[in-house]
C-alpha cells in the first residue's frame, strides 16, 4: 500500500511575468473554456503548464474523493454533519496552490480541498464534524487556521494577522476564504476597509458559489462582490472559479502584488456549490434541477480532465496513479473517522483559561465524583 503524500506539492508558477489574462464576456478571467480548451492567448511554457495542471488535478481529485467519503460517512451516521466542497475544488486548489506554503490561510468551513492540499489529513478534517472536538488541527505546521463557523469573523482575524506580519517585516501573505453570503456581514466590510487603509499583505478570496443556504447571490448583493474592492480601495479581480488555471493565475498575481507591498486584493471566484449547503439541507426546496444540470456541465474536475486530454498532459498511468491515491484517501478517511473517539468532558475544564480557578476546579471535581458514583 502506497502512502499518499499530503505535503503541499512544490509548484512553480508558469504565469509569472505574463500580463493580460484573457477574460470572458462576463468579465471573468478564464484560461480554459468549460469544454476544456486552452485559450489561445495563454502565454506560458506548455510543459510547465502541464506539470502544474497535473498537480492541481491531483489535488482536486483527492479532495473530491475525501469529500464524497465524508458525505457517505455522514449518511451512515458516522459524522454529525458534513459540508461538501463538491464543485468548488478548482477555486480552492487553484488559489491555495498559488500561494507559498508559509503564506497563512484563514479558511471558513468548507475549504476541505485547500486544507488537504496543505497536508491536513482526514482525521483532522473530520474531527469537528464527528462531534469529538471543536477544531481539527494545529494551525502552526500547516499555516492554516482552524475553521471558523461564525460567518466573516475570520476575515478580521486574517487582517489582524496580516498587520502582525507587516510589523514583523515578513514577506508572508495572508489569504482568507469566505462566501457570497458572508460578504454581507459587517465584519467582512470592516476587514476590507482596515486591510485597505493599512496596505495589509492580504488576499480576500470569495468563493461565490451562488448560494448562501437557500439565499441566492442575487438576493445578497446588487453588484459582483469583487467590486467592493474598488469601494474600499483594494485591488479587485473576478475569475472563473471552475477554471483551476485561471484561479491559479489570478491568485498568483494578486498574492505577489500584495507581497511586494502594493496592498490587499479581493478575488471573486464564480463557482457553484454542487451539493446541499450541508447534510442537513434539502436544496430541492429552493433550487431547480435545471440549474444543477447547467452547473454539472461545468464541473471543474471534468474541465481539467478534458484539458489534459486535449493537451496531451494525461495518460493512463497518471490517471491510474491518481485514482489509486484517491482510493487510499477514501480508505483513510473512513478508517480515521471511525477511530475518532469522544473526548473526556472532564478535560475541558482545563481548556478554558490558562489555569483552573477554584470554582471551576470545584465544579470539575464534583462532576468527576458524581460520574464515578454511577460506576459503583
Amino acid at each position: 500500500m502506497t502512502t499518499v503524500d499530503l505535503a503541499d506539492p512544490p509548484v512553480t508558477n508558469p504565469f509569472a511575468g505574463t500580463t493580460g489574462l484573457p477574460r470572458t464576456s462576463e468579465g471573468w478571467t478564464q484560461l480554459v473554456t468549460p469544454d476544456g480548451r486552452l485559450h489561445p492567448d495563454v502565454d506560458a511554457d506548455h510543459d510547465a503548464l502541464g506539470r502544474l495542471t497535473r498537480d492541481l488535478y491531483r489535488g482536486m481529485r483527492l479532495a473530491r474523493r475525501l469529500d464524497d467519503e465524508a458525505f457517505a460517512l455522514q449518511r451512515q451516521g458516522e459524522l454529525g454533519l458534513w459540508l461538501q466542497c463538491r464543485g468548488q475544488e478548482a477555486a480552492q486548489v487553484g488559489s491555495v496552490a498559488a500561494v507559498r506554503a508559509d503564506d497563512y490561510v484563514f479558511p471558513s468551513y468548507r475549504e476541505h480541498a485547500a486544507a488537504l492540499w496543505r497536508g491536513i489529513g482526514p482525521a483532522d478534517l473530520l474531527r469537528q464534524w464527528r462531534g469529538v472536538a471543536h477544531s481539527g488541527w494545529d494551525p502552526e505546521p500547516y499555516s492554516f487556521h482552524i475553521y471558523t463557523l461564525v460567518l466573516a469573523a475570520q476575515l478580521l482575524h486574517a487582517t489582524g494577522y496580516a498587520l502582525g506580519v507587516q510589523r514583523d517585516g515578513s514577506d508572508t501573505v495572508v489569504v482568507t476564504y469566505f462566501g457570497d453570503g458572508a460578504a454581507s456581514e459587517g465584519d467582512a466590510s470592516e476587514a476590507m476597509n482596515i486591510a485597505a487603509v493599512n496596505d495589509a499583505p492580504m488576499v480576500f478570496f470569495c468563493q461565490n458559489n451562488q448560494w448562501a443556504i437557500s439565499t441566492p447571490t442575487s438576493s445578497q448583493t446588487r453588484t459582483p462582490i469583487h467590486r467592493r474592492g474598488a469601494g474600499f480601495g483594494l485591488r479587485g479581480e473576478w475569475v472563473d472559479g471552475n477554471d483551476v488555471l485561471a484561479v491559479y493565475a489570478v491568485t498568483s498575481a494578486v498574492t505577489e502584488h500584495a507581497r511586494s507591498g502594493n496592498g490587499p486584493a479581493i478575488v471573486e471566484a464564480t463557482t457553484y456549490r454542487m451539493g446541499g449547503h450541508s447534510t442537513s439541507d434539502d436544496p430541492t426546496r429552493y433550487r431547480t434541477d435545471d440549474e444543477l444540470e447547467t452547473w454539472r456541465a461545468r464541473d471543474p474536475l471534468a474541465r481539467v480532465e478534458a484539458l489534459m486530454r486535449a493537451e496531451g498532459w494525461s495518460d493512463e498511468a497518471f490517471l491510474g496513479e491518481v485514482q489509486a491515491e484517491a482510493d487510499e484517501i477514501a480508505d483513510r478517511t473512513r478508517r480515521e473517522c471511525l477511530a475518532l473517539a469522544a473526548p473526556d468532558l472532564a478535560d475541558a475544564f482545563a481548556t478554558v483559561l490558562a489555569d483552573v480557578p477554584q470554582l471551576l476546579r470545584e465544579e470539575r471535581d464534583a462532576f468527576v465524583a458524581y460520574r464515578a458514583s454511577f460506576l459503583d
Binding site: 454533519l81 454581507s184 459587517g186 437557500s214 468532558l345
Partner: protein, 322 residues
C-alpha cells in the same frame, strides 16, 4: 396534536392573518421555511414582501426591523441559531431595548426576535448556546421561553400582540415534540409562570428545554415518595416572582435548572429572588443545576454537559438532605 415547530408556524400564520403589519424576516425563512421549518409555507401564502429572506447580516436584520417598526410594522426576526445573535447585540441592547426609555416612553418597538436555542441536538459549535442571561439583564426587553406546543402557539401570538420588544426563545430539542394546542384562547398571560406539576417537598424552577427534563425527574422521584413541584418560568424577564414565592414558601426548598452555564447565569437571579423573598421559609440553600462553566462542548459529550434527570435528582437529594 402539533409539534412545537408547527405550533409556532400556526401562531405566526394567525398573527399574520390578523394584522397585515406583521412581517417575518431572517436568513432562509422564506423559500426554505427556516432551517427548522418554523416559517414553512408562509412565504408561499403571504408573499415575499411579508416573509423576507434577508441578506446574511444579523445586525442588519435587527437594525432594519427597528426601522420597519418605526414605520408601523411588526417584524418577527429569526436568528438562525443562538450563537449568531451576537453580531446583532449592539442593535438589540442599545437600540431595540432602549428606544422606549430614550424617548420617555413615546416610541414603542414591537419587534419579536425568535431564537432557536440550546443544545441536545448534536450540533457543531455555536449552534447550542443558551444566552438568555445577557438579555434578561437588559432593561427594556421581554425575554420568554416556550417549552410546549401550546405555549409556543400562544406565546408567539401574545408576543406579537404586545408593544414591547421580545426575545423569544424556542428550545431546539423540543421542536419535534407533539402536544395539544388549546383553541379557546391564551391559557395564561405572557408574563406568568406556570406550575406544570404540583408538589409539596421541593420546587424545581426551570424554563425551555429543561422543563420536560424536570417533569421527568419529578415523575421518576414520585414512586420513591418525593413529591416535586415543577414551575415553568416561561417569562424570565419580567419574572413572575409571585408564583415562585408562593411555591417556595410552601415547599421550603428549591432547585433552579437551566442549560446555560450557571456562573452569573439566570439561575443566580432566581436564587437571589427566592432567597430574599423566602429566606425564613428556606430549609436549605437553593441549588443550581445547569451547564458547566465552559464553552458548550462538542456534541459527543453534550449529554454529560446538559442537566439531566440524574443531576437534577442529585440536587433534589441535596436540598432534601439539608
Amino acid at each position: 396534536m402539533l409539534t412545537l415547530s408547527q405550533a409556532l408556524n400556526s401562531g405566526l400564520r394567525r398573527a399574520m392573518e390578523d394584522d397585515d403589519k406583521v412581517l417575518l424576516m431572517g436568513e432562509d425563512v422564506g423559500r426554505l421555511g427556516g432551517v427548522f421549518r418554523v416559517t414553512d409555507g408562509l412565504q408561499k401564502d403571504f408573499g415575499e414582501a411579508r416573509v423576507v429572506d434577508t441578506t446574511l447580516a444579523e445586525s442588519g436584520i435587527i437594525g432594519t426591523a427597528i426601522g420597519l417598526a418605526l414605520r408601523g410594522y411588526r417584524p418577527v426576526c429569526e436568528i438562525q441559531f443562538d450563537g449568531f445573535v451576537y453580531p446583532a447585540f449592539n442593535q438589540i441592547v442599545s437600540q431595540l431595548a432602549k428606544m422606549r426609555a430614550r424617548t420617555g416612553g413615546r416610541t414603542a418597538l414591537p419587534v419579536v426576535v425568535r431564537i432557536p436555542v440550546g443544545g441536545g441536538i448534536g450540533a457543531v459549535e455555536h449552534h447550542s448556546e443558551s444566552n438568555e442571561a445577557y438579555f434578561a439583564h437588559t432593561a427594556g426587553l421581554r425575554v420568554v421561553y416556550c417549552a410546549s406546543p401550546d405555549d409556543a402557539h400562544w406565546m408567539i401570538r401574545q408576543a406579537l400582540a404586545g408593544d414591547d420588544p421580545v426575545i423569544f426563545y424556542e428550545p431546539k430539542r423540543r421542536y419535534w415534540v407533539k402536544g395539544e394546542v388549546t383553541t379557546a384562547g391564551p391559557p395564561l398571560p405572557l408574563d406568568r409562570a406556570r406550575t406544570v406539576r404540583p408538589g409539596t417537598d421541593v420546587t424545581l424552577l426551570t424554563y425551555g428545554g429543561t422543563v420536560a427534563t424536570c417533569v421527568a425527574a419529578a415523575e421518576a422521584a414520585a414512586p420513591e415518595g418525593r413529591d416535586i413541584e415543577v414551575i415553568d418560568l416561561r417569562s424570565i424577564s419580567p419574572l413572575d416572582v409571585a408564583t415562585i414565592e408562593e411555591s417556595v414558601r410552601r415547599t421550603g426548598r428549591a432547585v433552579v435548572v437551566h442549560e446555560a452555564p450557571t456562573f452569573a447565569g439566570f439561575g443566580a437571579e432566581v436564587v437571589a429572588q427566592v432567597t430574599s423573598r423566602c429566606f425564613y421559609s428556606l430549609e436549605a440553600p437553593v441549588e443550581r443545576v445547569g451547564g458547566f462553566n465552559l464553552p458548550y462542548p462538542p456534541a459527543k459529550v453534550e449529554e454529560e454537559y446538559l442537566p439531566d434527570l440524574d443531576r437534577i435528582l442529585d440536587a433534589v437529594d441535596r436540598v432534601l438532605a439539608a
